[in-house]
Each structure stands twice: as C-alpha cells, then as structure tokens.
Symmetry: D2
Subunit: 344 residues, 4 copies
C-alpha cells in the first residue's frame, strides 16, 4: 500500500479487463470506433443531458483543453492560488488558451467569493473563465450552494465555468447528489472528469455541457497531441469505469478508507486533522520531525511542509486491513518513539 | 483484417501482457518507477550511447515535444510539404515551439537537397531545425547516405535534426542497419520513436541523443499535458516491445506482408505500384471508380484521390493467409467486374 | 532619392506638421484623445459605413492583429506564398492568432482561385481566414471581380477575408474606385490600412468592417505591445493623411512616377519589365551582373535574384526630375558600359 | 496641466525638433540608418560597456521583448504582484516568451526578498527570470543594495534579471548614481529604458547588457510587429533625449515638481502621503469622497480606490507655477469645502 498519492495505485481489475476485451481485431481510429461513440450516450445518460466528450490521457490535458475551449487568448482564467491548474501544471492552461491565469485566495482551498468579486471588478485583463477545483487541493468539497454562488457571479460577468474534477467521483460521493446537480445545474459549462486516480490506467474525459464551447475541439485535440489513434483503449477504460456504477463504488471505498484513516491518525497526540475529511485525502498537522521519521520508514507524504501539514491519500484499492496494519504496525511505533523522545 | 491504416490494429499480445504484468501494487508516479528508469539503460544499449527518453501517448506529442526542444520560438522548422508534422498535425509543432514550419518539396516524399539548400539560403526566418520523416509519407525510406547528406547540410547551417519515426522500426528493418547508424551516426539530434502503429496500445518515445537539447523537457512535458502519473503502464509497453527484439520482428512481419500484398496487387491490370514498397505501406495507382468500388465493399483506402493514388497498409498482425484471402476473395472479384465493365 | 523601397523615404511635410500641431498640452492616453476618437468618423465616412479603427506603428502589427481577430487558434490562415505575411513577417500572424499559415501559389503574386479551392477542400487544418495582399508583392493589383471571386469562395467556406493593404492607397488609385468598393463591398472583413510607405512616420491602421470581429481587440492591442499611450501622435499622422485626400494625391504621384520610370527603363535593351506596372513598383528583368553594377554605384535593388528580377520603388516624394536624372545620369551610363562590355 | 499620468504630456520641444531634423531625404530602413547605429555607441558610453539596443514604441513591447529574450517558454517570470508587467500588460510577457508569470508580494511595491526566496525554492515551474520595476508602481525606488541583494539571489538560482524602467530616468536621478551602477553592476541582464513618459513621442529602448541574451532578437522584433521600417524617427527621439543629458534634466524637473506638490498636499488635513516621494509620483491617502470631488472639477486621479490611495503624477513639462496654481486655485477650495461639510 502507498499513502502518498492515488496516482500511484494499480489499475482496477475491471478496467484492465475492459482494455483486454477491447483488444479484438481492428477498429476505426481517432475516436470513430463504437466504444468511443457509444460512450457519448452513456455520459449523456449519466449527466441527464446531451454532452460532448473525448478521452485524453492526463488530467492536465483535460483541464488545458477545457480552458482552451472556454476562453479566447485575450481573456484570463481565474482559479484558486493553490489549484493544480495554477500551481502544478506549468502553465498548460496558458499554452492551450493563450490566456493568462489570475490566482485568487480563499480558505481551505476554496475560492473566496468576495475575492472573486474583487478580481472581476478590478482586473486589467478581462476575466473570461472561472476554474473551480472540486474537490479542492485540500480535500474539501464545495457545497452545492457555494458552487452555485460562484458560478452565478461568474456567469453574470460573462465568464464560463470549468470544473477540474480529477477526483470528481470522490466529491460526488460526498455530496450525495446527482452528477447533473453537481455540474451544469450549478452553472458549470465544461469539466475535466477524472478516472486515473480512481482506478483507470490513463483516462480522463473532457466533458462539455455547453454546446457553444465545442467548436474547434477536434483541431485543438490534434494540435496538442491528444487525439489518440487507438482511442478505443481509452474509451474501454471509461466503459468499464461507468458500468454498474463502478466509478462511484471505487470512490466510495476510497472516501471510506480516508475517514477510517483519519479517525486512527486523530487518536495520536502528535497529529491533528487540518481540514475536514470529505474525500479520499487526509491532511494532518504534525511536527516536521515526525513526518521525517515516517518518511524514513517509507511513508512518504506530500503536503505543505512550511505549515507542517501533510497529506495521506487513500484509493479505490485501499482496504480496512491495510489501514489498520499501517496504523498499528508502522505509524504507531514511530509516533510512540517520537513522543517519548520529545517528552524526555 | 483492415488495410486502411496500421493505427487501427489491436495491441500485440506480448504488449498487453506487459501492461498486465506491471499492474501489481503501487509504483512511483511521473516516471520515477523502476520500469521507466530502467528503460533508459535499454534504449541506451539499443542506440549504443546514452540517451534521454520519455514515453508519451501519441506521435504528434512526440514530434511536437522534440521540435519544442530543438528550436527557440524565433526560429523555423523545415520539413517536407507532405510530412505528417506539416500536413496533418494541425500546427502542433508550432504550438509547442512557437516557431513556424516551412514546407519543402521533393520527389517521393523525400526532401530534395537543392530545395533544402535554397530555403536555408533564402528564408526570412532563420531555419533552426530540420525534420525528416523516416519512412516518408509515401512509404519510401531515405538511404543512409541521403540522410547523412541532409543532416550534414542542416548542421553546417546550425540546424538541429529531428526524425519523425512513427514507423521507424519498419524503416530500420528495410535499411538493415543498426539503430545508431540510422540516427545519431547520421547526425540526428532527437527523434519520435513510434510503437503504437507497430503493436502498442498508445506508446511513442521521445528519444534525445544530443544532451544539450534535454534542458526544460520535464517542464514541457507537464505544460503540454504529456507527463503521465501512471507512467509505468506506458513504459510497460516499451519494455515488452523492446524485449527479445519484438519490435523488429513485428516490423519485419508488416514489411513482408506489404511486399506480398504489393506483388498480388501489381498483377491486376488496373493497378500499378506508385512507389517502391520499402516498409509496410503499398501505394497503388488505380482509377478512382475502382477505389470507390473497393470502398463500397468495406475496403477503405486513404491516399491522394486527386492523383488516383491509394494506400494499403499492413501491420504486425497481418498474416499471409489474410493477404491471400483479401486478394482472392474480395479484391479480385471487384477488379474483374470493374475491368469487365470498362471494356464493355 | 532612393529607389530601393518606399519605406526609406521621409515624412510628408503635411504629416510632420500634423504631429507638431497635435503637440499642445496634455491629452487623454491610449486612444481616448479627441484626434483618435474623431478619426472613427472620418474613416467611417471614407468607407461609407461604420468601421472600428486603431492606429499601430508597423504593417506587421496591423496584419497580425487583424489575423488574431479573424481566426481562433484552431484554424489556419491562407495566403499567397510570396505574401509579406507569410514570407517576411517571421510568423507574426501565427504568434498573434495561434493559427498556422498555409501558403497558396498563383501567378504574378495573386492567389490562384483553383489552388484556393483545392486547399479549402483538402486541408487537414480548418482554414478560417483568407489574407489577400492588395497590391501584391509583385506590384500587381487584383481587379474587383478577382477580389470578389476569392472573397466569395472564402466566405462560402466560412472563412473571414483580410486585406494586407500596406500600399492600399496605391492600389486604390489604380483601381479608380471607392474605398468601399475595393473592400467590404467585395466581402472584406478587416484590413491593414497602410500609411508609412506613403508618407507617414509610423502609422498603419487596423480597420474592421465586420463588427463581429471587434471583440477582444483592446486586450490584444495591449498584450502585443501595440496600445500607445500617446496615441494622439499616431492619429495626428492619419488626420493629416486623410485630410483633403492627401493620401490619394501622394499615392497618385508615386504611381505616376513608377510609370514614368518604367517607360524609361523599358527603353534599355538589357532591361525588360517583368510585370505590368500598376502601382509604385517597377519589376525589371535584367542580368545579375548589371544589377550588381547598379548596386556598386549606390542603386540598391531588392527582388528575386535567382530569377534576375529586380524591383525599383517610387514614392510620394519622387519627382519627374529625379526620375529623369537618375535614368540619364546614373543608370544609362552603367547600362551602356555593361552592354558595350557584353558585346565586346 | 494634467496630474493623471505622465503619459498624457506633450513631446518635449527638443525631441520633436529631433524628429524634424531627421526628416531629410531617404535613409536605410529597419535600423540600418546612421542615427540608429550611432546610438549604440552613445548607449554604450552612457552605460560604460558595450550594449545592444533597439527602439520600440511602447513600454509593454520593450518589457515583453526583454522577457522573451531572457527565458525559454518552459520557465517562469517572477515579478511583483503590482508590477505593470503582471497587472496591466494583459499577459504580453507571456505571449512573447511563452512562460507564465508568478506574482510575488512585498511592501511598497518592492519584491520582498524572503518571498522571492520562498518562490524560488517551492515553485513547480522553474523560475528563469526576475523582473524588477524600478521605480516601483508606488513611486518608490529600490536602493542599490536592495537591488543587488535581489539580483544576487536570482542569479545564484540561475535566473536572469530584468528591469522595467519605464521611469528609469526618474529613479536614476533619485539614486544619484551612474547608469551602470544602477543596472549591470547590480547584476541586471537587460532592461526596458523608457523615454515616452519623460518627454518622447513614442520611444522606449530595449537595452541588453548580457550579450548571451541577444540571440534571436531580430526575429522576435519582426514577429511581434516591433521592427520599424523608418526606425530613424524612433532613434531621432533618443538622440535628442540623450544629448546634453536632456533625459536627466527632464527627469530632475519632474521629480522636483513631485516633491513640491507633495509638500503642498501634505499640508491639507484630509490628505496624507502614503509613500515616500522618490520620483515623479505622489501617492496620497484621502477620503474617497474628496477624490470624487476633485474628479468632478477635472482632476482625475488613478490609484487604489479600495485603499483610498490616489496618485498625482508630475512630468518633464510641469512648472512650479502650475503646481502652485493647481494647489491654490483648484485643490485648496475643494478640500476646504470638503472639510467644512465633514465637520458640520
């Protein structure tokens, strides 16, 4: 088991099996195969409206393609200052759209609505798209009314609304609402719908709700190198992922395991939950030295070292036994030793 | 069987098996896994020198990333006017590098050296990289001395040399030389090394021979959305592909099947080979109406309709029996009917 | 006098005087001054419809800004292979729009309509804008019906139509029609309207006829560094240029001087007019050695050395006396010497 | 007189006279004229080392061209969050370089060195250039040791150092040191050297101290539309500007007038100087209503309305009499009325 990130886990067996099943004879290339075209109906059913979709192989690609569809190069993308889009993707959204990003602050990874209002009112560059990370980089989830309030302000000012949903399934399980309610019914125009972190091999979907944003997407896929010749194998991952609600079951497991892990970690005196645990990420405040000690026995943790906040991530593949074992057998002794040394 | 393109074929069983074998437990993300790091040695061994490599999922991505490493945005990319880079990739190389492309003519898909010389001497924009498609879009292969002559002229003028090797294995089998001889010993700085068309699911490698061109590649992978979190599954395809010379065996089969197909098609009075058959593509000149008749029974052919030249493509998975069957049972009757109608 | 290019000439006295006149006290910046806003009416009157306009300082800027307004980055710009846009501006149109250029051939610098048709029908990238250079790089002028035919084909295929009018005034004098007839009545959406080559210091106007292409232009001016703080001094040049038809008078003089020069040059046995002289450029075919001899006495000529075609350019400031003097006193002796040597 | 911005003022008479003087006969285009080439020596003399220079027409162009020379597209530009580059230029630096900007905080418009250190240490994108606005957007001037400390930290981390010197002459007068000491002797690699705000018509110079950053600049000038055909008229402005230290005399006047104005404004109870007055900008904290009242009588003030901080700008053309008149006759009565109403 690995608690560093859900992007280190294996492929869910059903999804790998889906790839194998698709490996029969030849198929039309570049998404004209029946698996890819058939999934349009499946996604439309799931989202309760006709959508446009295409599978790409990374979350950065899905986000950047969305932003490229949503803004002319003369505009600007607003997003949280800690968002993956802004802080980790090396300017991908800018490369694909030509438009700069403007970071906005806000507690617990959520865009503060008064700061959004201020940026919309004062920016020298015309804001044209708002990107919302759901769940946030801190594992928190925007409630539907928070989402609707941001979207509504954005749309009143003429902005498009994008969701970075690399862990969207985990957020949806937490919200316990329909995919439609969590997206376009709240004013979302298009989204990156992740699967890789939740059990796929390399599969993220660009989903466009607003049909006016579809124009030119085929060309943009090509010129960014994200139009797959053997697209059926990307789609095969989604076919398996969406069948019988596998995606929600996998996410539900990851979330449940995170809550279990959170309860266990919270029992340690030296650890304190930094944020509410709403998806499959547990942010813990602990002394840097303790994090280092865990690292030394192979428990690598990302996070915000300067704040002494560290992140544990569970996944579709995590089991209760694994959680208990890692807590009892690996973490507890290190914590005990750490506390003993500190007290002495 | 499908003769439209080798990008429609299935995954070679060894490669699919390689993906399954890699699906055990967790692994470091973004290429830090042991499969990806280990392949650096394997590629270095194959090319008889230390190389830098990274797997991406499309040929367009591999090409565009190479061009982005090879030229500043103030330069220009020279390439054949029929090259995939110029004619089919929607400006990807320009998006990734910022530098325009300048098309050059030449017979049978090969860059004419006098035209290269003229463009180098007269361009208002400073040419900075020469992209050579090997094999060409017409299924022809640059001989080593042709390659060396182009590279040498380019390098004397300060240009970098890139190979678009989407079907490089097929060219190599034809050349019957070592990978080193076909690349950096001829002055090549970096290349897109294809596997998808030759049996992989979605695997193309960026290979950099010239170490001065590596700088910034990690950032460029990220900002173009081509840095894979679960990179091990990309690498697993290459591990299987390169093991026991599988790549060369698959390519040899495809080339052999193309020659067999060419012999059979050439026997028809209404068909004429348009170019020498050197890799796995057979270009045939035939009346447009005949191509249409073939299309009507499900044999779709790409090509250059205005020249009445059509392309048949064999693959790693094509068998002699398939070739014979398709010629005897499907093509021959249509041709017979066509010729009969024309004569009457 | 200088016959190399009209961009080497001085500022017309009326225009320099216009700059001086504008230099009184302070004025609103970035085009909010009364000179700039007032010129909107003047241009609208000249073009017989409401237009959007803004002054920039180079022809490349005017062209590239137009292309940026006319195409999304997923499209492509079609233009003649000899056009300044394609051959001389180092990819400016691509930088500003993100869209590649596709060169089209055609005699005497004019886009051949069958080649335009072929590119529109066969391009892998969706063509989105047609750029027409009027007059062409060979000093020839599209007749109104030629212009209308190209525009019509372009618009039927959904393309926008742009004119590179660096020497538009010279073309207009030749066509002897109204500015409206030569532009939007022929289907033109937007244009670069030059003044620098015809007497201004540094003044080219972006003129947009199609109001749907105005959106975002202010941001694009800023981000390309072409929004002038002291815009009044750019506009002052246009105010003087347009007053009392100065622009047409200056162009008429340049065209007239070109015809006079052409007649004189054509009398030499060693020289032959290469194209009809329709504006202020005279293309002459002559032996390379003769061109070299002229160069050696200070008559530098650009052109197409490989075709032995050389260009003489007259300007708003050229006089009949200058033409006669340069022909009699400088060119004739050199030609005589050259012919004498050759015959001997 | 206008106190809104120094970009609203007229052309200094010596500079307009310089343009007229240059308007004699023809001259080589694109900077090959003797005025432009001669200024290389003049700038090199002023900066006490060989420099590369070229005149452009806007400050945004000068900055963006510098950034384009200083970073590959895979890097990032660090700059103050209030810098013109980041906050006002609509992403020009990103368009020209391809590299995103990362904003950094710090008091009084100056980059805080600990924040610079933190960004260099933690950025996901590799920082490649540091842009320093001298003077800052708050009219404050980095002392030489502050400048050296920032440059030194940047260079130790492999970054280039750029100065946005739109009002560099005003900063230099304040620092009372040599141009060399204020730039490359403090580790500066290249700069935008402004003249427009200090009396020119439209003239900003790109100055490159570090010869390794010159490569490709000619192409970048062309493709951004900033290579002037009649460059002599841009250079003529600089020739006059630099002759007999005119640039420093004009800046000294502007600074002196700012100090005089500051003293007068500071006497009003309702106004308070917000920052030290070091160049030609006076930032005053006053009630929003008072600023509105001033606006209503034609004294428009930019600034930071949400902080109730407003900016008055003096210029090369401002006189003591004007300052006294505007304070006595226009501002004082409004302030008196405002204070009376408030007290009542």
């Amino acid at each position: 088991m690995n608690l560093t990130s859900d992007n280190r886990t294996a492929i869910a067996p059903e999804i790998l099996e889906g790839i194998s099943r698709a490996n029969i004879g030849s198929a039309d290339a570049y998404g004209a195969d029946s698996l890819t075209t058939g999934l349009k109906d499946k996604f439309s059913e799931i989202f309760e409206r006709e959508v446009w979709w295409y599978p790409v192989s990374t979350g950065t690609a899905a986000n950047a393609l969305c932003i490229g569809q949503a803004t002319p190069s003369s505009g600007a993308t607003l997003c949280h200052e800690t968002s993956h889009l802004y802080a980790e993707e090396c300017g991908a959204a800018e490369l694909f759209s030509g438009a700069p990003m403007i970071p906005i602050g806000g507690e617990m990874g959520k865009i503060a609505i008064d700061q959004l209002s201020s940026v919309i009112g004062n920016s020298a560059i015309r804001p044209t798209v708002l990107s919302i990370t759901q769940p946030t980089e801190f594992g928190t989830v925007y409630a539907l009314d928070e989402l609707a309030a941001l979207s509504s302000m954005a749309q009143d000012a003429g902005l498009r609304v994008h969701i970075d949903g690399a862990r969207f399934s985990n957020a949806l399980v937490h919200l316990d609402c329909s995919p439609a309610e969590a997206t376009w019914r709240c004013g979302v125009d298009l989204m990156a719908f992740g699967a890789t972190k939740n059990g796929a091999m390399c599969a993220e979907a660009v989903i466009i709700f607003n049909p006016s944003l579809v124009d030119g997407i085929d060309d943009n896929l090509k010129r960014s190198g994200h139009l797959f010749s053997k697209a059926r194998f990307m789609s095969a991952q989604f076919a398996a992922y969406l069948e019988n609600d596998l995606w929600l079951k996998l996410a539900a497991n990851a979330n449940r395991m995170a809550r279990r892990l959170a309860r266990r970690l919270d029992e340690f005196d030296s650890m304190k939950l930094a944020f509410p645990v709403q998806v499959n990420e547990v942010f813990v405040q602990m002394p840097r030295m303790l994090a280092q000690n865990l690292h030394d026995i192979g428990i690598e943790l990302e996070g915000f070292a300067e704040l002494e906040i560290y992140r544990f991530v569970t996944s579709h593949a995590t089991t209760s036994v694994q959680i208990d074992d890692v807590c009892n057998d690996r973490i507890a002794p290190i914590v005990a030793l750490f506390e003993q040394v500190r007290l002495s």
